[in-house]
Every structure is written in C-alpha cells, then in structure tokens.
Amino acid sequence: MATVDTTVETPVDPDTRLSARILRVLGRTPIHIVLVLIAIFWLIPTTGLFITSLLTPSDAAQGGWWTFVTKPSTWTLENYANMFDNEGITHALWVTVLVTIGATIVPILVAALAAYALAWIEFPGRDWLFLLVVGLLLVPIQMALIPIFRLYNNLNLFDTVPGLILFHSAFALPFAIFLLRNFFVGIPRDLMEAARIDGASEWRLFFKVVLPLGLPAIASLAILQVLFVWNDLLVGLVLAQQNQPIAPAIAGQLRQFGSNLDVLAPASFFSAIIPLTIFALFQRYFVQGLLAGSVK
C-alpha cells in the first residue's frame, strides 16, 4: 500500500507547484517593492550628476535636473565637447592614465617578487619581515606627505608622473604583499618541489609556476589598485601642481560651485566612467579582492 501511495504522489502536479510558487512570490512582494525603492534611491544621485552633465548652462539654470529626465531633446554633449577642448582637463586625464598604469604595474610586480620570497624561500627573519609588512598595512598616507613633499622638492620629483607613481606604489605594497603572499602559500608544495627537483631556478619557478597560478589574486589586486589610484585626491593635491591628476585638478573648481556646473559635472562623470566600466567588467575580481583585503 505504502509503495502505491508514494508512486501516486511523486509526480508533482505542475498546477499546484505553479500556484504555490505564485503564492510564495506574492508573499514576498513587499520585500521586492522595498528593494526596488532602495535601488532607485541609491541610483538617483549618480543619475543626477549624469543628467546635469548633459544640460547647457542656460537649461540647468531653468530648474532641477529631474525636470529634464523626460526631455531627452534638451540633452547635449556640448559640455563634453568643451571639456575635451579644455587643455587643463585633457592634460589632467592623460596624467591620470599614466599614473594609474604605472602605479598598478609597479607595485604588483614588486609585491609579487617579495611575496614569493616570503612564501617559498627560506631565509632567517622571514616571519619578522612579514610581520613588519602586516604592521605597515595601517600606516596612513598622512604620515608620509610632509617628508616626501620636501624630499621631492630636492630630488626634482615634485609635480612629476614618476613621483606620483612611486608614492602610490610604495603605499600599495604592504597590502599587495600581504594578499599575494597568502595566496602563494596556498600553492601545493608538491608542485613546487617537483619543479625544483626538475632543476628549475627560483626565477623560473616564479615566472612559470607562481605568477600564472597567482593570476586571480593579481587580477583582484590590479582592479582595486586601478580604482584606488584613479580616484585619489590627496596625493595628487599635495605632490603635484601643473601635472595633477583629474580629481585634484578639478578640485580647485569647487570653490565656484554652482556657476561652473557645466565644467564640474561632465568632468566628474567622465572621470567616473573608467572606474565604473572596470567595476562592471571585472565585478567578480573586485568583490574577491575586497573580501580578501577586508583586513586593511
């Protein structure tokens, strides 16, 4: 009897399943509505910047940006065209690109080398050295600004792209070394031993085994570092003047906020496009990096 019963009940009636699902979805409708409202609320400010950046100064003076959301005919790329004619801003964007590229490649390469030594080469004081790196994780940038500002003036590194790259690289190192060392330690010992027995030199091991295996961690690190350097305000403000990256370059414009929104809004939004694109494309690595680095 029991077996008969179960065989009868096992095939699920699609109708009851569907209705049960609909009921379940309906039961959760309030949560869905709340979440939609929160998401809209969270997107409004950025939308405001975007719409503002598309308005001519005379339109922007007419009323709030939200009155133009439904009038796409008033939108214009004029402000962006003017921005690209503004040599100050294009130069700042170019500096930002150079500094970001340099200050991402240099620290990752340097940190990968150091992390390899800390993970796989035996030498006295290794653990103490790693402890030092963990300690340096928390040194705030403010601790270095004044001495480096003076040092750069003497070394002619003030207001130069290499000066900015070196500063960002050094301050990225503790975190990069920490993250990569922890990742490299996880590489199976057998794999490393096998390669060593095959006679591979440490350099060969580093380039042929460890670096390729470490790519996911390196990708996370690169994303975080690109965003960090691209978005930096303080370092560029203090250590550069004519060759400032975009954020410090337009910071000066904030003093006349209101009258110059046609310059501020497009420059701010355009400067956000690169990090937003990178975030959209490599979201997974971004999140992984944050998870790995939430000790910082």
Partner: protein
C-alpha cells in the same frame, strides 16, 4: 646539468640534501634579489617618512626649535582642532555602526531574491566612483533651492502632499473691514449673522503666487441660515475698481482657509475657498460671528533646508559616506551569510524557532566576526577621511565639517606651511590606529600557528 642527474638518484620520499656550501652567498643573495625592490620602496617612501614625521612633530612649524610635545598640546587646544576632534568622535560613534547595520539589512533582505545581483550592483556602484565625484554628486543633491536640489525638492513634494504649505506668502487687507496680520490671520471687525455675506478682500499679493486655477471672483449669494463669502484679490489691473467690492477682472483666491469664529473668538467651523474665491458655512446657529482668513493660508513657502550650512554639514557628509560604503558592508556581510551552514538554520526552524529568533540567536552570532571586520574597516576609513570633506563642504563651512585628516592637510599644504603641527596630527592619527594594528598582528599570528 650534472646536479639534475644527482638529484634524480635520491630515493623517493627523502628531502633534498642541504645545498652545497658554495651557494651560501647565493642563498642570501637570492631572497634579497626578490625582496630588494620592495624593501627599497617601503624604506624610502613609507618607513623613512614615518620616522621623519614623528621626529618633525617635536619641532616648531619652521623646524628651528625643539618644542617637545607642544604640537600635540595644540591638537587639544586649538579651536579648529577641537572641532575636528569632536567631529571625528561623532563620525566614529555613528557612521561605522550605521554602515554595518545598513549592510546587514541589505544582505539579509537580498539573500533569497532572484534579482539580488542587480540590486547589489546598484548599491555597490558608488564604491567605484572617486570620493571627489561623490562630493560633486552630493553638492548637486544638497542644493538649497527646492527647484534645484533634489533632496529639498523631495521634502517640498512631501510637504505639499500633506497640505501644510500655504497658498500665499504675503497679503494685506484691501479695506479697514479686516484687521490682523498674516501670523494671526485677517479677521472681520464687524460681526456678521447667518444670512449675511462676508467680503474678505486682499491686496499686496505676489502675482506668481496666485494659484493657477483662480478665476474671476464672484459676489457670494446670501444663504438662509448660513454665512457665505468670498476671498479675492481686491485689485484691478489698471486700477479702475472700487476697493471692498468685487469688480470685473479681479480673481478669487482658491484654496484659502477661512475660519468662522464666534463672539468669544473660538473657531467653530472652517472652509476652503473655491476657484472663484467663494466659500460657505451652512447651518450656522444664530448669533454673532466674525469670519477670518486663517493664518495657515499664509504659511511661508518651503525655502529649502540648508544642508551645507554649519549645523547640518557633518550629518550631510555622513549620509553621503554611508551611501558610498553601504555596498561594501553589504557584499562582505552577504559573503558571510552565504557561508552559514543551512542545516543549522533549518534545524532551529524545525524546532519551532521564529524567523526573528533564528536571526537574533543564530545568524547574528555566527556573523559576528564578519560584522566586526566591516565595523573595523569603517572605523579606519572614518579616521582617515579627507576627500569628502574637501569636496562636499563649501568654503564657508569647511571648518565646521573638518576632520583630523582634513586639518592635517589644511595646516600643512593649503599655504600655511605649519609642518610641526601637521606632523603631530599625522602621528596622532597613527597612534589611533595602534589598537587595530595589534589586532591585525595577533590575528596573523593565530593564522600561521
């Protein structure tokens, strides 16, 4: 090549032999060649400046005189630094807890939602934008004029919805028949009785404030056992009208609140005017009454909250900071939630625990380590906060919004060149980090052993 041959001959399972003595030099050179670049960068750009800043903090601003801890004393005595200390304390007390809580709520709400990825991207996105652009974004949002700043526009819309906004901001009586002010309302001097009409003429009205639905005012019809009347703009463009009478070309004031007050001055009834300005009180008991245009008619229009003024600047910046960092807290917390074993939760549910009990007694304790990480990360971020202050606070309220990191930059680099004080503030921030440093190192040691 020969070494390869030698190694192959070792029996399997045995460790490789100690390297030959000839390679001792190589053995110490090897780690150095890997570590060298990192040590150079860390030495010159992090360790040397750190020591130099600590040393410099003991000298006066020009660096000519050793002053012991005078600069540190200034941190607690100089006015703008006292403000900064107070602000930093407020930030630490409010913001990390708020960010953690919002992140937890979002993570829990989205846990079993199909489209949670879309939600998470919306909330997470601000984290990718520079804090400087975030500043510009919120400067646009916080503009005071409700026609320009979206935050105040939202408040104005809510206020309008609940009808607390008046029709006019100013007006005065057109004749001596009325007395009072816009704060008390304008009341008739002469009492009226049921069956009478009340003519409440107003002038000195700002033209843009006349409601759009206003039409030609109408002389009210008398009503048996009731009091009728009209509130109108007693002013004929061109000036040919008679004061106190409803003339052609004079508009009624719709939406005005009219009160019926009895002989002791108590309001016994109220009414709203029609587009032609007329109103009516029906079934009024016999007696003497005065009709008044109520003061709520003249409630001042909403001028907008001054979010960037000295009183609200810090809460305003805090809100922007939470807007940025809630996504971070949400993602980290969601990862923590995902790692909680389903079985534990299901077991509690089958034992009859309510959802709230499960959340309170099981989820939260299991999430505690993750929430701590989020909380500590936010404290560190708050103590270093600089960008948002510079980009949101206008020059006039920058000092009211200042944090330690902001004053550090201000006294050192905005033309003041007070390097002694700047070094002391930087060192002070580092000292505030020491507890977290100790926790980090302890955790690392626990991890390795």
């Amino acid at each position: 090549m020969s070494s390869t041959g030698v190694r192959v001959e070792f029996p399997a399972g045995e460790a490789p032999p100690p390297p030959p003595k000839a390679s001792l030099l190589r053995r110490s050179l090897l780690p150095l060649s890997f570590l060298g670049p990192a040590l150079l960068l860390l030495g010159v750009w992090v360790i040397y400046p750190m020591v130099a800043t600590m040393y410099r903090s003991l000298f006066n601003d020009r660096g000519t005189e050793f002053v012991w801890f005078d600069n540190y004393e200034l941190i607690f005595t100089e006015e703008r630094l006292q403000t900064a200390l107070k602000n930093n304390a407020l930030w630490v007390l409010i913001v990390p807890a708020a960010v953690t809580a919002v992140g937890l709520i979002f993570a829990v709400l989205t846990e079993r939602i199909v489209w949670s990825t879309a939600f998470k991207i919306s909330v997470f996105m601000p984290l990718a934008i520079s804090l400087f652009a975030v500043g510009v974004i919120w400067r646009i949002m916080y503009q005071q004029d409700p026609d320009r700043g979206a935050v105040n526009a939202g408040i104005a819309a809510i206020k309008g919805e609940f009808g607390s906004e008046g029709v006019l901001s100013q007006a005065s009586p057109s004749t001596d028949d009325l007395e009072g002010s816009i704060a008390q309302g304008f009341e008739q001097k002469q009492a009226v009785q049921p069956g009478d009409e009340a003519l409440l003429g107003l002038t000195a009205i700002r033209v843009p404030e006349i409601p759009e639905d206003a039409v030609q005012a109408v002389q009210p019809e008398p009503l048996q056992g009731g009091i009728t009347g009209v509130v109108w703009r007693d002013f004929t463009p061109g000036g040919r009208g008679t004061e106190g009478e409803v003339d052609r070309g004079e508009l009624g004031i719709p939406g005005a609140t009219v009160e019926l007050r009895d002989s002791s001055g108590d309001t016994v009834d109220d009414a709203k005017t029609e587009p032609d300005g007329t109103f009516a009180f029906e079934d009024v008991e016999d007696g003497e009454y005065r009709v008044a245009v109520a003061s709520t008619t003249f409630a001042a229009p909403f001028k907008g909250v001054n979010w960037l003024g000295e009183d609200l600047i810090t809460p305003s910046i805090m809100f922007a900071f939470i807007w940025v960092n809630a996504g971070f807290a949400m993602v980290i917390t969601a990862a923590g939630l995902a790692s909680i074993p389903r079985d534990t939760l299901e077991a509690a549910r089958t034992d009859g625990a309510s959802e709230w009990q499960v959340f309170r007694r099981i989820t939260i304790p299991l999430l505690a380590p993750v929430l701590t990480v989020v909380f500590v990360t936010q404290i560190i971020g708050v103590l270093k906060l600089f960008d948002l202050i510079l980009s949101i606070a206008p020059g006039s309220t920058q000092d009211d919004a200042a944090t330690l990191a902001f004053v550090q930059w201000q006294v050192s680099f905005s033309g003041q060149n007070r390097f002694g004080l700047g070094s002391a503030i930087a060192t002070f921030i580092l000292i505030l980090f020491i507890p977290f440093l100790i926790v980090n190192i302890r955790r690392f040691r626990a991890d390795t052993t």
